[in-house]
């Protein structure tokens, strides 16, 4: 196996293609080279910035954003993208807005 193929294989195992759909938005967040070791906590600021969203509570409550995968909420933000994707080279997540009443 030549070096180029080896590098491509290595990249395939270290990175994945990530799509994050924000419900109701035209364009998804896409990262063709998202590290499999990236945690949801590390990913979240990148995604919120892309969709121009601010999380926060207050006296009257506020919005929080949660990732979901295959209809299940991903509440453990220390989870890595690779763990969620399992063996797949592609991962599709939803970003869901929730409202915490104050």
């Amino acid at each position: 196996m030549n070096t180029e193929i080896q590098s491509a294989e290595k990249a395939k195992h270290e990175f994945l293609v990530l799509h994050v759909r924000y419900l109701g938005a035209h364009r998804p967040f896409v990262d063709d080279g998202a590290p499999r070791t990236e945690t949801l906590a590390e990913l979240k600021p990148r995604v919120l910035e892309f969709f121009k969203l601010t999380e926060g509570g207050g006296q009257h409550g506020g919005k929080i954003y949660t990732f979901a995968h295959a209809g299940k909420s991903l509440t453990d933000l220390s989870t890595t993208l690779g763990h969620v994707a399992e063996g797949s080279h592609e991962l599709k997540l939803d970003l869901v807005e929730q409202f915490e009443q104050g």
């Binding site: 009257h60 409550g61 807005e97």
Partner: protein, 147 residues
């Protein structure tokens, strides 16, 4: 009365949402009694035997939609047992006090005053309402309402 833009976007979205992967779990039809409304039968992923008929209507497509649940057999909109119990849903009051419904904002007019609580207009309001409701059923469902 809905504007031409709203009607056009609504028609376009009615086609597009049927292509969503989630749509394979829905029975979706237009609510012919209003300009901007639909009826959708959904079920929670954890309770696939529990069907709910939701009626979603917009007075303005770019504002929160009205959400009601109807009896599957009669279409009546005054039965708490037609409602799922989800976060913020109040079957006994026949409303959903959440930030994406008209009923929630009617109960909390102050929500409009802060960007932290105001409704954020969506590019695809129909898709947003349907997927948000499906998410609530899949993730937050806690049984059927009772009288």
């Amino acid at each position: 009365m809905a504007s031409d833009l709203e009607l056009s976007l609504f028609e376009q979205e009615l086609v597009e949402v049927r292509e969503l992967p989630e749509a394979s779990r829905w029975l979706l039809e237009r609510d012919g009694s209003v300009s901007l409304g639909l009826l959708v039968t959904m079920y929670p992923s954890g309770s696939p035997e529990e069907f709910y008929l939701a009626r979603i209507r917009w007075t303005n497509l770019f504002e929160p939609a009205s959400l009601k649940f109807l009896r599957l057999d009669t279409g009546a909109d005054d039965d708490p047992t037609a409602w799922p119990k989800c976060k913020g849903f109040r079957p006994s009051s026949l409303d959903a006090c959440v930030s994406w419904t008209a009923e929630g904002h009617a109960l909390h007019p102050d929500w409009r005053n802060s960007p932290k609580t105001a409704f954020k207009t969506r590019d695809k309001p129909v898709e947003f309402a349907l997927l948000t409701l499906q998410y609530e059923l899949d993730v937050c469902y806690d049984g059927r309402g009772h009288r």
